[in-house]
Symmetry: C2
């Protein structure tokens, strides 16, 4: 496996474009398009929110019943959520317009939106944007990069990752881009992720691989059930690498899964570190657990605790809040067995030993917590399972961004 530069155009046969459609932002691009020269096996996972945005309804239908997919149209600024029949009609119209411009079937066009909930899309601007983008599609790495910029909302930077690996004797590439920000509670982040690969693989295995990996990556940033109305991960595989199609769980499948995990985990961490107003990526690893489930529940409870996040912002080794967040998580454990460490580029320090304060230096702890990436490592000393969750600190700017978001 080899890390590569680039994003959605890293894999063979994929093109991208972006446009300034003026949907809500007036001074930047706000639409992106991904296109594969040939039909793709397509997989997707979507929000579990009872309230589902119109594009989620549209895309799920394609993943569940469509024969293949070939393009994705994305807009930032308006989420097309809580928009009723009209919102769904706008999805159809967007897909139809893209299908016409690209000479493909409208059932092969995914749509995705992110932004304010409850407003209707300015459909003429969307249609104009689609037409513009269809004309300027490009396989260049820069085209993928421009697309990754166009889909952002309150994100402070673009998020891309790519990797190559061997399968069936040929080099296969997998790349992706995503957007997502506002990680206090994941209700605030619409997370959109788009992955493209030139791997040949059956639709069934593609979907299985994606569903499994999402549990360990994006869902360890977003807490289960705490998903926005629009959360979407799409994965397109066009087979352009020329490997024998993967139709069973062989070594090629395992190589693909490893690559998929690398790209998804990289993007997930980028989302966490770019939480609205965040100054630090906050990683929580729980090890020595009796089960994977226990480790996941505990790590997520800590990473989403406002009190803990505010303490991380203050570079304060307030470990009581971590033990408290574990305590109300719903998972059972023995508090009197817990060890806790803080880690960062500045070092590692033990804070709790067997449930009470270790003899540590507050100064050293503060130094460790002042880095842009900090980790809390919890050892339950009860078993062999572990899990990692990602989040960020809670800052004044988070509040500012979310108090003013619509204006």
């Amino acid at each position: 496996m080899e890390k590569k530069t680039g994003g959605v155009t890293a894999a063979k046969g994929f093109m991208a474009a972006s446009a300034a459609a003026g949907i809500k932002y007036q001074d930047r691009t706000d639409m992106a398009m991904i296109y594969s020269k040939t039909p793709c096996a397509a997989a997707g996972t979507f929000t579990t929110n009872v309230v589902k945005a119109a594009p989620v309804v549209w895309d799920r239908e394609i993943v569940e019943n469509g024969a293949y997919a070939q393009a994705v149209v994305i807009n930032a600024g308006i989420a097309n959520a809580c928009t009723g029949e009209k919102g769904l009609a706008y999805c159809r119209q967007t897909a139809e317009m893209a299908a016409e411009a690209l000479h493909i079937s409208k059932e092969a066009v995914f749509v995705a939106s992110t932004g304010v909930i409850g407003q209707q899309l300015p459909i003429e601007r969307i249609v104009n944007g689609v037409e513009k983008m269809a004309e300027k599609l490009s396989e260049e790495e820069s085209a993928g990069h421009e697309a990754s910029l166009a889909i952002l909302t309150t994100d402070t930077h673009e998020k891309e990752a790519a990797v190559s690996f061997e399968a069936g004797g040929v080099t296969v590439t997998l790349g992706g881009m995503c957007k997502g920000s506002g990680m206090i509670h994941p209700d605030m982040c619409t997370m959109l992720s788009f992955l493209t690969t030139d791997l040949a693989i059956s639709k069934e295995l593609l979907l299985e691989a994606l569903r499994e990996d999402v549990e360990d990556t994006y869902n360890m940033v977003s807490v289960d059930g705490d998903t926005s109305t629009n959360d979407t991960v799409l994965l397109l595989a066009n087979g352009a690498a020329g490997n024998p199609e993967i139709t069973e769980k062989n070594a090629d499948y395992e190589a693909f899964k490893k690559a998929l995990n690398y790209v998804n985990a990289t993007l997930a961490k980028q989302i966490a570190g770019d939480g609205e107003g965040a100054t630090a990526l906050f990683e929580v690893r729980v090890k020595g657990a009796e089960s994977k489930k226990q480790a996941k529940i505990l790590s997520k409870s800590v990473v989403t605790s406002n009190l803990t996040k505010a303490a991380i912002y203050g570079h304060d080794a307030n470990w009581g809040r971590i033990l408290c967040a574990m305590g109300y998580s719903g998972a059972q454990f023995d508090p009197d067995q817990v060890d806790l460490f803080f880690e960062s580029a500045a070092g590692r320090i033990q804070i709790i030993e067997n449930g009470t304060a270790a003899d540590y230096s507050e100064e050293k702890a503060k130094q460790i917590l002042s880095e842009p990436e900090v980790a809390a490592v919890v050892d339950l000393k009860a078993g062999k399972y572990e899990a990692t969750a990602w989040g960020c600190d809670l800052t004044y700017d988070y509040v500012k961004i979310n108090a003013d978001y619509r204006s």
Copy 2:
């Protein structure tokens, strides 16, 4: 039922005192004592956190196995949580010292602590404080008021409530005080509440009444399971009013339950409105629900959504976030049936009709949301059940308080 002034000394036969023991704060009182001249039936409800502070362990034993109770010793500044065997020994020592000074049994002395987790109590200062308070106990309203000030941490003001009602032909009084602040997620608030009444009632019914009422009051501020290590509600009944002891669920019992609900709901709302850094009390009522449980889950999910709370701070009618928080709550409902209204002293406005935006004035909505007490009223139009949850807005000051708390 008649509202009264005062708090824990409102009911006959109860005395209170406070002291500046210098536990953590140097410029204010930080200990309080409640004492009943005669033994009391005692009830209590406690945190569901797996990590339980030492005083919670001590008090539960009294509620479950004690014959009666007669005093409560409270300190602010240090929570005596995650303090191991030593922490429990300090509870015992505090109770022993109070028992000796008051000439009662140590098994009749509750203890309660709030503040930083993980530090040991300065036991000599606690003991000195207990001795001082035992000497200056008073039945005056002002003594109860001073006690309500001594138990605060990041609270901005004291919280008291009292009421009188008729039972068995005599006038009975119920009063209480509480502390609690930091309501974003209730993990941040240790909530302590102390209630005293001169009612004569069996211990069994006292406990049943308290347990039921806590579900509709304090637990609608604190989300289930998201409780601090120290959360405690104690209720002492000394029978000094002279009513025939309540031993069955008769009209007197109902009158008491009504009074109990008034005092608890009043204190709960005071806690919510005094959330750390809060500028507004935020009430969420869900009506037209198919079950009480559905209404509770939905109202709590909205009132704890950081995104919604930040929007309330911004006086922004960002209703999409409310529908989104309902959607990820875990409760099922039909989003296309939902009506939503905002209410405050400045008026009432419909924001959502059948799941999409109503035709409303943003200016009027802003005006309504600019009041110190605002309510979101959700109508599911699906049944006859309803529930109310209380919280507050999310502000810069919340982050500031919690980033700096230990220093």
